[in-house]
């Protein structure tokens, strides 16, 4: 049983999804989905422990060994990512039923859970598989269910956002497919470990250059790197609140994982950074992304839009850390993956609570909410501080490591720009705080009540994690460091 954990982690949500149809009652389905997600979380904890102690686990599907068979390869990076995904999905699901009661019609609620489980399957599959074609298949499983999840939003603009995301996402995924085809053409293998061995021999060919270019563009569409981020703000803003919280905490993270996996483990860092000018390109795009998206966030009227643009900016930070190319830089990116999931999960869930009570997340409807919903607003303040990078929050930890990594590498201007970017976060977070605490509620409107416990528990769990991992950084740093070391081939 224990040896099958890598496969079970993906298979349990996959098998559970159609079973939801038999349960029929939304509340039952919710309990069931929560249990399945919790189970996946426990498995990922077990896997992470095992991997940290005894190194990568290789699981051969159906007993066919690689490179012919498909293998699942769980190393420290994969285990870390699946821990983030399953932890976030479980926490977010606690609030799911309460939230979708207001946002999704009763007869569609079961489908929400089915799609949610498929999205979870896809994301977990991407991080566990050791086969590049399998990556494409899981990528499409998660993307297709995500498009449908976004289209469940009650505003009609959700449909338009889902359609745009579908077009962009499919182009991105097809680019990745082309890249996989080109690599297969040159090496005759689809196994990641095997590719890493065979690629260097043929690396100096135009085919592999083209494969790399297709891959980078495809994955950047998926991770919403500036200037390919245009699908993201509307998709996040009009999707049901729970979907936004789940996607913001996991989907772009998995795309960053893919980028790291392909450039570091498959193409190899010397090929990506030395032969091709990926480093310069990504530092520039990452920093420009931080500033453009943060500026856009300042001018938004819809608070979900504010945090969606802020997500684009945060992806910029991750890409800067990634392109530094040292252990410290990679570690900063991995830390930020984890920390950003915690912040955005908390913030978007809190917005879900506001949506639940007021039915709108326009900035103007936040007026006076500080007194009416004190716990929810306190959570937004805490999440916002973390986003800015105030000490004692996780945001500070990842910014600190990112700045240190760029200074260590002699990139002073980059370090200064990263800090300047944080100033923008102060502005857009302040606008929300100002509205909530310093403006009077609109006269004649019935005061909103505090959010129900189903919201407050997961929100404060995440806020607690934001503060806990901001003070006691042992777990996150230890894992991120170990993952960065094994990616760069340094034995810890």
């Amino acid at each position: 049983m224990l040896t099958h954990l890598p496969a079970l982690q993906v298979l349990i949500p996959l098998m559970a999804a159609p079973l939801c149809l038999f349960l029929r009652r939304p509340h039952l389905v919710w309990m069931f989905t929560l249990i399945v997600s919790g189970l996946a979380f426990l498995i990922s904890v077990a896997l992470l422990q095992q991997v940290m102690v005894s190194g990568p686990i290789i699981y051969e599907m159906g007993g066919w060994s690689g490179p012919w068979g498909i293998e699942y390869r769980i190393d420290r990076l994969s285990a870390f990512l699946s821990l983030i995904i399953t932890a976030m999905s479980t926490v977010v699901l606690i609030a799911a039923q309460t939230s979708i009661d207001k946002e999704i019609p009763k007869n569609r609620q079961i489908y929400f859970y089915i799609l949610f489980l498929f999205a979870l399957t896809g994301l977990l599959g991407i991080v566990s598989t050791g086969d590049v074609f399998n990556v494409f298949v899981f990528l499409e499983i998660s993307s297709l269910s995500t498009y449908a999840l976004i289209a469940l939003g009650k505003d009609r603009r959700a449909l338009w956002a889902a359609y745009q995301y579908l077009i962009m996402g499919t182009i991105g995924a097809t680019f990745i497919l082309i890249s996989i085809g080109l690599m297969y053409q040159m090496t005759g293998t689809l196994n990641m470990a095997d590719l890493a061995v065979l690629l260097p021999e043929v690396a100096q060919t135009r085919t592999i250059f083209a494969a790399f270019a297709f891959f980078v563009v495809g994955v950047c569409l998926k991770l919403a790197l500036f200037p390919l981020h245009l699908w993201l703000p509307n998709a996040y803003a009009y999707a049901p609140s729970i979907v936004t919280a789940f996607l913001a905490a996991t989907a772009t993270k998995v795309a960053v994982y893919l980028l790291i996996r392909f450039t570091y483990s498959i193409f190899g860092i010397s090929f990506s950074f030395t032969t091709l000018p990926l480093q310069t390109l990504f530092v520039v795009l990452g920093l420009v992304g931080v500033f453009v998206a943060s500026t856009a966030a300042v001018y938004q009227k819809n608070v979900k839009h504010v945090f969606a643009y802020s997500s684009v900016a945060q992806v910029g930070y991750m890409i800067v850390g990634f392109s530094i190319g040292t252990t410290a830089g990679l570690m900063a990116t991995l830390l930020h993956l984890f920390n950003h999931a915690l912040m955005k999960g908390a913030l978007f869930l809190a917005l879900g609570a506001v949506m639940y009570r007021i039915g709108s997340v326009q900035l103007s409807s936040f007026n006076g909410l500080g007194r009416q919903m004190p716990f929810t607003m306190a959570a937004i303040v805490a999440g916002g501080l973390s986003l800015i990078g105030v000490p004692l929050t996780v945001g500070f930890v990842s910014k600190w490591y990112l700045v240190m990594a760029s200074i260590e590498n002699g990139w002073w201007p980059v370090a200064v720009l990263i800090l300047l970017g944080s100033l923008f976060a102060i502005v857009y977070v302040w606008r929300i705080i100002e509205a909530a605490y310093f403006k009077d509620p609109v006269a004649g409107k019935e005061p909103a009540k505090e959010a129900p416990l189903a919201f407050l528990i997961p929100i404060w769990l995440l806020v607690g994690a934001n503060i806990y991992f901001g003070i006691d950084t042992r777990l996150s740093i230890q894992v991120a460091q170990a993952a960065a070391h094994s990616l760069l081939g340094i034995s810890p």
Binding site: F133, E140, I178
Partner: protein, 119 residues
């Protein structure tokens, strides 16, 4: 000359790919965009299938007297990709139907105008 004629399958792939992408980018009609996406994906299917062809090889069926077979793996891969593309098309068209119900139009420009009014 060999690069033009000898690699004709890749030229077809590239031409189809560009036609598909162009339709997706330039056309404002949502259904036509999805058709463009389909052409784009089809070009990738052809690319994969032509990868598997081995010069002088026959279909990968075990028969006596044949030594050289084409690579069947790319065919299997692309069967999966065709299923994915089918699902994408179905989902895309379903969303277009609901867009038509909600906006009363499937032209990109008209939808944008209606959205801008709401903001």
């Amino acid at each position: 000359m060999t690069t033009v004629l000898g690699l004709y399958n890749y030229w077809i792939v590239v031409v189809l790919m560009m036609i598909g992408l162009y339709i997706v980018i330039a056309n404002g009609n949502l259904v036509k965009k999805i058709i463009g996406l389909n052409i784009f994906q089809t070009s990738v299917f052809i690319f994969y299938i032509s990868l598997g062809k081995v010069d002088g090889g026959t279909a990968p069926i075990l028969v006596e007297g044949v030594e050289l077979y084409s690579n069947p793996l790319t065919h299997v891969l692309i069967l999966t990709a065709i299923v994915v593309s089918l699902a994408t098309t179905a989902l895309g068209l379903a969303i277009v139907v609901r867009i038509k119900e909600a906006y009363g139009s499937i032209e990109e420009e008209e939808i944008q105008i209606k959205d801008n009014k709401e903001c």
